[in-house]
């Protein structure tokens, strides 16, 4: 009961949140957002771009503060040709230029048009949980190659090696425990950069282990899903992860522990058709592409042109498939409110049970 209203004092200090990953990454260009399975470009200095932006930089005195390890920026003040082009980014949606620090502070949501950019798994963790509260589990679990998947052009092992090197991740899902406004929560986050956030054996195993630990610790679970679905390279092993993960969540539900599913861009296929859709609460970020089959497949099969806005988070809301569409900046307070509701309910139920026991 004491735990109930305990809060970690500093709440939602958005400006203090420094995403650890983003500083080492470069610009977000429209093509990076649109292409799937592609990581954001490594920072590179393009003199043309730097020149284009140089007129803007002096306008904001607060804007040129070098942050952390980004030494090159300091040099940029003296040598204008060296201004790194990640100072400014262009919104893929409204094409407006955004100052990158402002973009980071806004949790990678365009301040002009509200477009929600995709996040890496660790960016999501940092934007979601209380600072420094995340303890990752099973980070060193890596995939096997059960099919010995080999085709004329690729093998799964080589592709896994390349993806690990490219993304710095061991799998497409990151799992662990932390607190959100002081409330304990188990967290699973997909990373779409790792083979399209696809669900294979390790994804399933990490998620099930998280559920099992959440059961032991008796904490609620939040899953943030961005995935193209089952991983082709593991064949039926991947499909069976749908049953494996969903069965684990069935147990979480039977134990009376809440499961909150947050669907973010894009979430399709085997993930949305399994554990991600059996949550007590299903939320989605604005504009996220959500659906069972991808739009290309539907157009191919039915020869129908799909209307604008089809298969978005808003479409899902309109058709009664999710509880709410929540903007990224509102997510922490909304999820904290939900966690608080359930924690209170669980405490009430436990107190009632105790009373019954004493009465006997």
């Amino acid at each position: 009961m004491e735990k109930l209203f305990k809060r970690i004092p500093k709440v939602g200090g958005e400006s203090e949140k420094e995403p650890t990953e983003s500083s080492s990454e470069g610009t977000i260009e429209p093509q990076d957002q649109l292409k799937t399975e592609k990581v954001e470009k490594a920072p590179e200095i393009s003199p043309e771009k730097a020149k284009k932006h140089e007129g803007h930089t002096p306008k904001f005195s607060w804007s040129i503060k070098p942050q952390g390890d980004q030494k090159p920026k300091q040099a940029a003040r003296t040598d204008k040709a060296d201004i790194p082009d990640d100072l400014w980014i262009k919104c893929a949606h409204c094409k407006e230029l955004i100052y990158s620090k402002e973009f980071e502070n806004n949790k990678k949501v365009c301040p002009k048009c509200g477009f929600h950019f995709r996040l890496t798994a660790y960016e999501r963790v940092n934007f979601t949980l209380d600072e420094g509260s995340f303890e990752e589990i099973n980070a060193r679990l890596v995939t096997g190659d059960p099919l010995n998947f080999t085709t004329a052009t690729e093998t799964y092992q080589v592709k896994s090696d390349q993806t690990r090197a490219k993304t710095g991740l061991n799998e497409s899902i990151v799992t662990g425990f932390g607190t959100l406004e002081g409330l304990p929560v188990a967290l699973a986050v997909c990373d779409f950069n790792y083979m399209g956030g696809s669900m294979g054996s390790v994804f399933g195993e990490k998620l099930v282990r998280l559920v099992e630990q959440a059961l032991e610790r008796r904490v609620p679970l939040l899953a943030v899903s961005a995935s193209g679905g089952a991983r082709m390279h593991e064949g039926m092993f991947s499909l069976m992860q749908m049953a494996k993960t969903t069965a684990a969540f069935a147990r979480l539900g039977e134990a009376g522990l809440p499961f909150i599913s947050l669907l973010v861009d894009p979430c399709t296929g085997g993930v949305i058709a399994s554990y991600a859709s059996v949550a007590d609460i299903i939320l989605a970020e604005p504009g996220a592409l959500l659906g069972f089959a991808g739009p290309r497949v539907i157009e191919q099969v039915t020869k129908q042109k799909l209307p604008p806005g089809f298969q978005t988070a808003e479409f899902f809301l309109e058709h009664g498939m999710i509880d709410q569409v929540v903007a990224r900046k509102e997510l922490r307070p909304v999820i904290a409110k939900l966690l608080h509701h359930y924690q209170t309910a669980v405490a009430q139920n436990e107190a009632r049970e105790r009373e019954v026991t004493y009465a006997r």
């Binding site: 060193r140 054996s201 039926m236 499909l239 069965a247 058709a273 859709s277 069972f292 497949v297």
Partner: protein, 311 residues
């Protein structure tokens, strides 16, 4: 008798060697004369009474279900139903069910739990229907809820993949205590065409995808993903449907009897044991490695796996 002798010789001449290639099996699994769900239901059970509609939106002829007698027991049967000609296929939507089909299955499975009826399912679909109306009615949620229900349903579930097992649409009626496949059936994470499109954006590579993805019954039995393979008449199930029904009935009955003896005849504790076994069956599927805690510079995943293979 000379006539009989001649008949047998003729039949033997038609006998082909066992079909081995994955793509050949895909084609055979899709053979238009292959027995479909209703053939199996009528061939294996008696007094089948079809139950229709999801009680929310509509009925779906691509997924059939109902109550029947199987070897002295009342059972619930479900199956993906394909057609034999264009007209029937349009009516059956080529065996690809929409959300209402899966919600009907959900309703019938709950019905089965209420009356403690074992469930027999016959899987034969390329997948759930990927159309506009499917999305509007929440096909993803419908599939997910079936998977959730089946993982905890307190009655024995036996699934038989009779032709094509395709993706989530097949899984949503085949989470089971015993997953069986006919010898020439295939079961895949996505149809070979879909896999080829996802992997290489080239649908013409379907045969290559079928080979690479190990989708045949013997492959899946080797992986421990399915629990048994039912032999087919030489040349495939369609060459001798009656023989196929006899064999299928024998296997289904054997598996059901095992589950009854082991679990459902032992009251509530037996049912809990069955649910635990079902959970563990899926829990252990997968292939993974734990990297050493202080792993220094890794040369690559392939090196680690070679040093420490799990499969």
């Amino acid at each position: 008798m000379p006539d009989k002798e001649k008949d047998r010789k003729d039949r033997d001449k038609d006998k082909k060697p066992a079909i081995s290639g994955a793509w050949e099996k895909v084609l055979l699994a899709r053979h238009v004369q292959r027995p479909h769900a209703l053939d199996f239901i009528n061939g294996l059970t008696k007094d089948f009474m079809e139950l229709r509609g999801d009680r929310h939106f509509g009925d779906d002829a691509a997924l059939v279900g109902g109550i029947a007698q199987f070897e002295g027991r009342t059972v619930m049967v479900l199956g993906n139903q394909k057609g034999r000609d264009t007209k029937e296929n349009i009516y059956r939507n080529f065996g690809t069910a929409r959300a209402e089909g899966y919600r009907k299955a959900f309703r019938l499975m709950q019905h089965a739990a209420k009356f403690k009826l074992p469930i027999l399912t016959f899987v034969d679909t390329g997948g759930a229907f990927p159309g506009k109306e499917s999305e509007e009615r929440g096909i993803a949620v419908a599939l997910a809820e079936n998977i959730l229900l089946m993982s905890r349903l307190p009655v024995p579930i036996i699934s038989l993949v009779t032709g094509e097992g395709g993706s989530g649409g097949a899984l949503a009626i085949s989470v089971s205590d015993r997953l069986l496949m006919l010898e020439n059936a295939v079961y895949s994470v996505a149809s070979p065409e879909g896999s080829a499109t996802i992997l290489w954006r080239d649908v013409s590579q379907a045969a290559a995808a079928a080979e690479a993805m190990k989708i045949t019954a013997p492959d899946l039995l080797g992986f421990g993903i399915i629990d048994g393979v039912i032999p087919e008449p030489a040349g495939g199930a369609h060459t001798n449907p009656n023989e196929m029904m006899v064999t299928a009935r024998e296997y289904m009955l054997r598996n059901l009897t095992e589950l009854e003896d082991k679990y459902t005849s032992r009251g509530e504790a037996g049912i809990q044991a069955m649910l635990e076994a079902r959970y563990q069956k899926y829990r252990k599927i997968g292939s993974w490695q734990e990297l050493a805690e202080q792993a220094p510079e890794l040369n690559g995943l392939s090196d680690i796996l070679q040093a420490n293979p799990s499969h």
